[in-house]
Amino acid sequence: MLKMHNIRKSYRTDTIETHALRDFSLEVNEGEFVSVTGPSGSGKTTFLNIAGLLETPTGGQYLLDGQEVGNLSDRERSHLRNEKIGFIFQGFNLIPDLSLFDNIDVPLRYRGFNAKERRRRIEKSLEQVGLSARAKHLPAQLSGGQQQRVAIARALAGEPRFLLADEPTGNLDSLMARQVMELLEFINQWGTTIVMVTHDPDLARRAHRNIQIVDGQVSDLRQNIAADEAAIA
């Protein structure tokens, strides 16, 4: 699904060049749920941005769903993001001026679906996150957990094959966090590949696999954490 080979990303100012990712290689298979952890400033967000086609790498090769994406134009990257990738952000990133319905509608309009198809997808995704009755509400009228569920509904409505979650429970209390995590696990069971950046070791452990990024490189790769822990036990 996702294959990065020797990815490099550096940011340059007049005097300083910062290497956010160095020879970063990673493969995520179709249907996997991968958690990404690491200290602040380690390069997690940069990895997420490159994986989600929000930024371009300085060097290296990135194949998404078998397609080399390094040389795509901005327009092609936008279309690919819209069709294949769903995003869940730490701060929910809902548009405050739009109702839940219109928020979920945003990526569907960019996809070019007709009104009927958009309505069908919006209603279905709201139902999946249990917020059908709140379609006309504004984000500010919802709790943090509900807002994150709307963000998940927005990501799901496009039926992406690849879901990128950036600290999806970072702004939630433990109960809400558990609900959101269960929802992500449920989505993964349908076959959606998920890569989740988190600081929470408990949540990281619930993924199939955990990747730790330190100083812009993958430092520790443990396959199937759950299976390892089961073996130790």
Partner: protein, 401 residues
């Protein structure tokens, strides 16, 4: 895909600022379109045909120093000299039209008529008058030399023939055929036969209600209120002006001579109109500039305020074009509301100005042209901020600030 409904929803949440800009635009449209009518009317007034070869005409006037000065002899000698000058096409003695100074009175079609007079300016002139002004005789004939009388300014004697303008002929004789009919001046019973009709002459006061109603008498008035009217060959006006001044001074050095082009006199007459045009054009430009600034300011503010949102939209699949289009469409919706309000306000404002100050009616087409221009200004103002918004990185969506 156009995002009309979501934009409308978003605008509704910021309705005060959106409405203020729309109102500013509407008010600007109301003022600009009404100012445009005034500018247009003044420009048309200045540019309308005068019926004379104004660009080729030079006028000269002199003040004799001695009290016993033989004015008629001076006229004769000057005219003989002037008509011989190179570059001179024709010359006469009369009053310069378009100069803001002249004579007028009431004219009738019946003797002793006390009501229903038609106001008209009148000039005295000899047989060279039509040619010297470059007027076009459209019916009848010119005066002959034998018909020209020398009259004192205090004389109550009336000429027996006259030439009038087509406009006056149409006013006095709406059924047509004014030629050969009689004209009476000031309610008296001395008929003046209309022997000729000239196409057009706006008279001394082109802005007055009698402009275009002009009567010509076959006379040379022995008065100091006269001008030498000299028409130069095309392209020779400035040379003739210089030569005229030199030769008049050469012929009689004991007099003060003033030589001017008719264009100068016309410009002086229309100075008020020209000032009005400049002031209103300045006001229109300033208002349009302020509106443009307001739109740039608001668009930049909204874009700065929504940087994160733009990043999120980009992350969700919006292309750069889609982001620019969003802001341009948003601007267009505000501007369209503004011009819709402004179109109505312009008409109401015009009715007020028409009733209070006699301003000409504002055609809807003028408002629509102004509305179109303001829409274009509005979109152009929003264009640069909208294009800059498109450059906001989608990675903005994952930034914590």
């Amino acid at each position: 895909m156009l995002e009309l409904r979501p934009i409308l929803s978003a605008l509704w949440r910021h309705k005060i600022s959106a409405l203020l800009i729309a109102l500013q635009l509407g008010l600007t449209l109301a003022i600009v379109s009404n100012a445009s009518v005034v500018i247009q009317e003044r420009e048309e007034r200045i540019a309308r045909p005068t019926g004379i070869a104004e660009a080729d005409i030079v006028t000269a006037h002199f003040m004799p120093i001695p009290k016993d000065y033989d004015l008629l002899e001076a006229f004769r000698l000057d005219m003989d000299m002037i008509r011989q000058l190179p570059g001179v096409a024709a010359a006469t003695i009369s009053r310069a039209p378009l100069a803001g100074s002249g004579s007028s009175g009431g004219f009738h079609t019946k003797p002793h008529q006390e009501v229903g007079s038609t106001g008209a300016a009148f000039f005295s002139g000899d047989e060279h008058f039509i040619d010297a002004l470059g007027m076009k005789l459209v019916a009848g004939r010119n005066f002959t030399p034998s018909e020209i009388r020398i009259m004192e300014s205090s004389s109550s004697e009336r000429p027996t023939i006259t030439i009038i303008t087509q406009q006056l002929a149409d006013t006095l004789f709406p059924e047509g055929n004014a030629l050969g009919k009689s004209l009476y001046f000031g309610g008296d019973d001395n008929p003046m036969e209309i022997v000729g009709i000239v196409e057009r002459n706006l008279g001394p006061w082109p802005n007055s209600s009698v402009a275009g109603n002009t009567v010509f008498f076959p006379a040379i008035m022995e008065t100091q209120w006269y001008d030498y009217i000299v028409r130069a060959e095309p392209g020779q006006r400035d040379a003739v002006l210089k030569l005229l001044e030199e030769k008049m001074a050469e012929r009689d050095a004991e007099r003060v001579i003033e030589v001017k082009t008719l264009t100068e006199q016309k410009t002086r007459y229309y100075a008020g109109d020209n000032t009005m045009i400049k002031v209103l054009t300045g006001v229109v430009s300033l208002l349009t500039f302020i509106v443009a600034l307001g739109i740039v300011g608001l668009t930049v503010f909204w874009i700065t305020q929504r940087q994160k949102q733009i990043g999120v939209r980009r992350a969700l699949g919006a292309t750069r074009t889609a982001i620019s289009r969003y802001f341009l469409l948003e601007n267009l919706m505000i501007a369209a509301t503004g011009v819709a309000l402004g179109t109505a306000a312009a008409q109401i404002f015009n009715q007020f100005l028409a009733s209070e100050f006699g301003q000409p009616a504002l055609p809807l087409s003028t408002t629509l042209v102004c509305a179109f221009i303001l829409l274009a200004v509005s979109l152009t103002s929003a264009l640069v901020p909208a294009l800059r918004a498109a450059n906001i990185s989608p990675a903005m969506a994952t930034r914590s600030v």
